[in-house]
Symmetry: C3
Subunit: 384 residues, 3 copies
Amino acid sequence: MNYVRTGFSLFFEYDTPRIVHIQSKKVGVINRFIQLCIIAYVIGFAIIYKKGYQDFDNVQSVVTTKVKGIAMVNTTVHPNIQPIWDVADYIVPPQENNAFFVITNLIVTPNQSLGKCPEDSTVIGSNCTADKDCVAGTSLPVGNGILTGKCDTDVGRCEIYAWCPVENGSIKKPDPAVLEDTQHFTVFIKNNIEFPKYNVKRRNLPDNVSNEYLQNCRYDGGANSRCPIFTLQSIVEGANSGSYSSIATEGGVIQIRIKWNCNLDLSVDECLPEYSFRRLDSSTYKISTGYNFRFSRNFKDSNGTEFRTLYKAYGVKFVISVSGQARKFAPVPFFTVVGSGLALLSIATVVCDIVVLYVLKARALYREKKYLQVISDDAYKPMD
Amino acid sequence: MNYVRTGFSLFFEYDTPRIVHIQSKKVGVINRFIQLCIIAYVIGFAIIYKKGYQDFDNVQSVVTTKVKGIAMVNTTVHPNIQPIWDVADYIVPPQENNAFFVITNLIVTPNQSLGKCPEDSTVIGSNCTADKDCVAGTSLPVGNGILTGKCDTDVGRCEIYAWCPVENGSIKKPDPAVLEDTQHFTVFIKNNIEFPKYNVKRRNLPDNVSNEYLQNCRYDGGANSRCPIFTLQSIVEGANSGSYSSIATEGGVIQIRIKWNCNLDLSVDECLPEYSFRRLDSSTYKISTGYNFRFSRNFKDSNGTEFRTLYKAYGVKFVISVSGQARKFAPVPFFTVVGSGLALLSIATVVCDIVVLYVLKARALYREKKYLQVISDDAYKPMD
Amino acid sequence: MNYVRTGFSLFFEYDTPRIVHIQSKKVGVINRFIQLCIIAYVIGFAIIYKKGYQDFDNVQSVVTTKVKGIAMVNTTVHPNIQPIWDVADYIVPPQENNAFFVITNLIVTPNQSLGKCPEDSTVIGSNCTADKDCVAGTSLPVGNGILTGKCDTDVGRCEIYAWCPVENGSIKKPDPAVLEDTQHFTVFIKNNIEFPKYNVKRRNLPDNVSNEYLQNCRYDGGANSRCPIFTLQSIVEGANSGSYSSIATEGGVIQIRIKWNCNLDLSVDECLPEYSFRRLDSSTYKISTGYNFRFSRNFKDSNGTEFRTLYKAYGVKFVISVSGQARKFAPVPFFTVVGSGLALLSIATVVCDIVVLYVLKARALYREKKYLQVISDDAYKPMD
């Protein structure tokens, strides 16, 4: 035999393992069964079901919103509150990034000016009988101002520096909500997305629609699931956690989720958004429910003294979360799964070898056929 | 032969498959070619090109912005509009998270107060001839107020409760834009990022620059691509979709993308941001173009009656999206790709075996050399 | 021998490689050592330490915040500034998405009205001796208005159209900060998260707490690390970069990071948030430190002339970043790592084969045992 190898001859040779081919029903069935399981897992589950042949890219998104509608206040019940609310009134701040807030309920404290007045009666610790009960310069835990150190004995409460008169804490939030009309308002959500890795850009506006369609359509989850205009009521109802009345009364946070899950191995036209809604401040929580904040409109009178109207605004904060992945065939994940699957096939051989060499009656025969013993000079010989 | 195995002897033995070494040009070439392809794929593509030896971390980012500039209005053309706009006027709201909005164009409706007046003539359905045409308590689809139920027969339009006089819908948005001067404004974008997994923190401000450089430099995509100060005009032009005049007139949304793609196996100093700009409300859309919203400044007169100036503000919403990945060598992805690649090499043997055992003339010979037949007692014998 | 195969017999056969079993201390030790390394890597590192048996999902989050507290201004030092600041005053804008801004320091310029006045003396280029020094219609780089083209020779500075009188640039930011009291303010952070892939929803509010606990607890990193109410001071101190006084004076940006790293193979109750704080505008930067912006409150006098109070607001922008991953057992990553590990085991055979066939003295013997030479008709014969 010629063992001389030139670099060239290396290209014209081929090694293949020598195999013991065993014809046996028992072992054959075990062998094929394990192989089938592994092949089914690799092809059926890892590749087809889990789309192991694709890599992915996360969505990049920008959202703008436009709310429309006019609400009227029942001024018989709420004489203090301005009778008509339009978009410049009820959207605070006038624009946000990925969110918008609609005032639905109000407690209004008009004509506050900076000065001294008694603390609100509902503030714990505001009651006093003498000046020593009121530590000057401190403020009470949920108080409205800084204690002057005097006790207003007429009303039995500490005097504070504050925007006076202070908000009356004993006024309950109006129920039904002052601006329950907001349920009929509409919001137009414009969402532009991109999958940078694949250079795919999409938006949530159907391509071939008329201006008229956009003026009249309303999202409804069914036939009009492509319409990007939503009534606030349909969003709240889609969130499935209480009526619009209840969220309007105490305020709340609702997430508008836009999912873009796109298989770019199919047509890019099938890369469409799916909307879902979820209330985030579950109305079933016992504590810290609802959503509200305070803001003011400040004025000056003819003497140049500043005064303000304080609004405690309950309302719905709509947060728009855009998520999603685009998936597309890519060789690395594909071959990694395939290569890994091929390696797993050797498990079948390992298991069957155990059966053949240690379990079957004829194991000595199989062992002799499979193994060629070579004992080297430095072999460990426990029996010696 | 001594089959007794002690646990100890197990460490001093070694199994290696017995191989048929075939010297054949045909099979050898097939074998080596397939092996080469697989090795080239694993090393060249999966490891080197696709950086399969690295794992990654996504960027965490915070952005703050500061806009500078003063715009003057041509008061001959726009006598209603305040002549000078500074940063406290044209940035609404005064600060946002990951975004800023600059007013570029305006329709101003001064001295509105709450009361009754005819609906705007451009609102569809506002025309009437008698009271029955105006359903009390409803509002028209894009109307400005709530119908009182009366028809103002002098002007032939329904009367509404609203902030009166209502915005005149027949006024077109000024062209050229009222605040086209905004194109010369600058914005200083401060971006601090972190890759938490690798504990790497970076910012978009070059480390060794003077205050003077920061006052005078302007980003230009070329020599000054590290300067974090941008003119609004250069951003709009970088977005490549129309002139500043056109976006200033109708408003728009522009994404400022900051990409941090960092190979942390190299020096961290090469981990630098790349800026790109994109208009998101493509000016070529036929419908729902531009970007605008309404806000108001509210006042009170000496009688305490509230009135307001309504601003319909067209402008550019700049949204700053920070994305990116840091990649660094990590053993798990590396060995997963290598292991998977080794497994793929067995494909060469499978293919060549098919050629050798089923295609070549000498297949009976090869089969005999490769296989040692063992027929067990329970063998399936179809020919019996 | 019967080579006829029916499709059926295929299921009752089994191939196993023929092996040379070598008993040798040298090679055995090498073999077992490499195998041990690979098994330790796969099981210990890739699977157990790196959790290679899990796949993951990124967190989806919504945050709302509520700040409480009242600050008093030392009106002896700052007679211009309103004496009491409540939440409707110091939170600007009144609500944001994933962030909130608290005013801590102020420069107030009251009673500005639109008109003509000299540019501020600190603006570079504002000095003039004659009208030709002031180019009409331009504005100076960090100026407050548009040059009229006249030089106000009384003060030696260019005249501008602007909100007059302009902010006095020579006034330094007050130190200590006007609203240093803000350090005792509290913020209630409500964070609702979701891992959509696993349909797991969590919030940062402990489930079984009373209203009382929520009114009194304060986050402290230790025993009260679950309390979602933070004092601004503890956040700033947690960020470990300077005292509250210094950040209050010049403003700053602080990131509140909420990490949700959840192993969903354990109980979902252990899926808890971890808070950490970081100052993003490092106070050690030489340039562009702090954070401030300008906003105004606009008024009208009895003649209908608009005037305003300009606020240069220094303050702390708190940005809330929620990040995190949930991990859960999944078969694809598990079997990919295992399969890849099995394939890596063949490295041991490759290395030992090199030793056995090329290094050991008895290499010729081993080669003969391992290889069965078959020379085909088309063999490449370099020696012929």
